[in-house]
Amino acid sequence: MSKEKTGLTGAGILLKALQQEGVDVLFGYPGGVLLPMYDALLDSPIRHVLTRHEQGAVFAADGYARVSGKVGVCLATSGPGATNVVTGVANAYLDSIPLVVMTGQVSTSSLGTDSFQEVDIIGITLPITKHSYLVKDPRELPRIIKEAFYIARTGRPGPVLIDLPRDVLAQVNVEPFPSDMKLKGYKVFGRGNNGKIEEVVKALSESRKPVLYAGGGVVTAGAEGVVRQLTEIANLPVVTTLMGIGSLPFGHPNLLGMVGMHGTVTANYAVDDCDLLIAVGVRFDDRVTSGLGHRFATKAKVIHIDIDPVEISKVVKTHIQIVGDARLVLEEMLDVLPGFTVPLVADWWKQLRVWKNDHSLSYDLDRLTPQMVIEGVGKFADENTIITTDVGQHQMWVAQCYPTVNPRNYATSCGLGAMGYGLPAAVGAQIARPDALVILITGDGSLQMTMQELATMAQNKLPIKIILLNNGVLGMVRQLQKTFCEGRYNQIQLDGNPNFVKIAEAYGILGIQVDSVEQVQSALAAAIKHPGPVLVDFTISPDEAVLPFVPPGNEITDMIVR
């Protein structure tokens, strides 16, 4: 094994370059080709968090990135280590999360020979990375690391993969090349087009039924403050995507809720009926448009503001397009706003309030419902509390009922919808923000996909509170089978479920069982008060449904509401 004493190794240079980028923590899992890396890590101030599966490492890096706004970094060995990060890379790609994913690779002399634990991870991840590098010369590491972080976090963020052959890491006495970036073909858009800003504000001023439709681009740009200002000045109704939750704080009078498949009736009616749709940092995903881009907001003039030119006119024909950073563009709008009259929206609000009153989300109080638990959790949350979720029914109930006030306090797998995201994301979130209360809301199906990360939680003494909504089934698929397959249920019964309280206890985590309404508040209070990690297992009915529900292919106003 090469040592630093003989001069800088490739791995040593890599770690120094990571420090230059402000990296304080790596989520990872060692392996044969990474021996030089783990050796060098012993002499580096960078903290390494050992997960129990590489998918846990990449999801933890993702959770870290979402709640901190920084680039998340993870490390996996070659072959199976690399293939295990693929789901996490896809997740970050679809949700535009800045990650630098490093994978070990067999030595350059063995590349392409199907040697032990060799896979072409660059090839495998080509469609799901923003960019990738195969490092063949350790002298290039400072430049590549600098470029990778720059690409990951700028413009529309995304995952960048760096494949690191063993000999590149192990090489000794490396004299690195300068770190100057060579990115001739990489463009980042900032401010929008000024001529069009006036046009947008004029359209807003003349509108009688405007809606602002906010997505993940608002969160990435840190534009929630400007969204709020604009909303309040022009009295704009706001709908958000799942990615855009928190763009306007929960409970704000102008917030109509989430739009789309499991959106609120008011939000969907409003988008359908509006005469002006200001779409900010969104991509008209099929979970919003129901896959009917051509029948979406058809009465409206549609303004699309996005940092990625590829998203413009991809799904929905829009009328005014601005390519730029959401915060900068909205600030430009605020600047010119005083020159125009505010839109006359009193009648529009009258209509919106009628819809809101007629179709408010409600639930039974006499039995244990998931909504009751989630609202209960919300009562214990302060402005710093972080929620992570898994994927499925509970995820939608959280989106509908949990009072998210800050988008950086909320991490969920949106575009990919990857079950198993929640627990490792909570690990990453707690490590990013050790002082915050981190709560995972999950289901019994999702939790079992990455349940081994309970050990990561225990090893790192992370006081995460796990709220398990346990219905003993794969609830979302069951709901779909009930609706579309005449209740011919198949493979949704999770009869082999363990006793989750005992599982928690086996890891040294406090476990609490809740079976009745009366226990809900006291169990939540005990969980929050407990200084260490807790798992609370709430037994809920498998018949709980996520409503409203727009069946795919229906127009978004055509909802199942009960």
Binding site: I122, P127, I151, K184, G185, D308, V310, S313
Partner: protein
Amino acid sequence: MLHTLAVLVENHPGVLIRVAGLFARRGYNIDSLTVCMTEDPDVSRMTIVVNGDEQVIEQVRNQLSKLVIVHTVTDLTAQSVVDRELALVRVEVSAETRSVVLQTVDVFRGRVVDMGRSNITIELTGDIAKIDAFVHAIRPYGLLELVRTGKIAILRSEV
């Protein structure tokens, strides 16, 4: 409609698959693609002929521009360009057909570059329509093998 895109890319391994993969994954139809080094050894030039309506071509251009290894994308379609393709064509010849085949080659200003006992190989350059026309003319005599480079194009300089 066919569009001709001139795409300047970084000249190193793995670049072609990034471009080709993008076309495959997004379902864009490549009619032809040529790639080779340029006057700058760090830069390769791809000439991509792609079929699609305005909206598709706009997407193709934006998606290509988004690749980190792509420097510039220029749509040459509506511009004044010189474009060429090179074809190597092997044709069956017999005592009866030899002279008429050679006459046809002459008309199209082709060159015979190889001659076998029962076939000849012709080199031909020109725009796509010319090569199509030659292939059409020669086919009845026995078209054995056809190799085409795909189109390359360069903007005409301003007068």
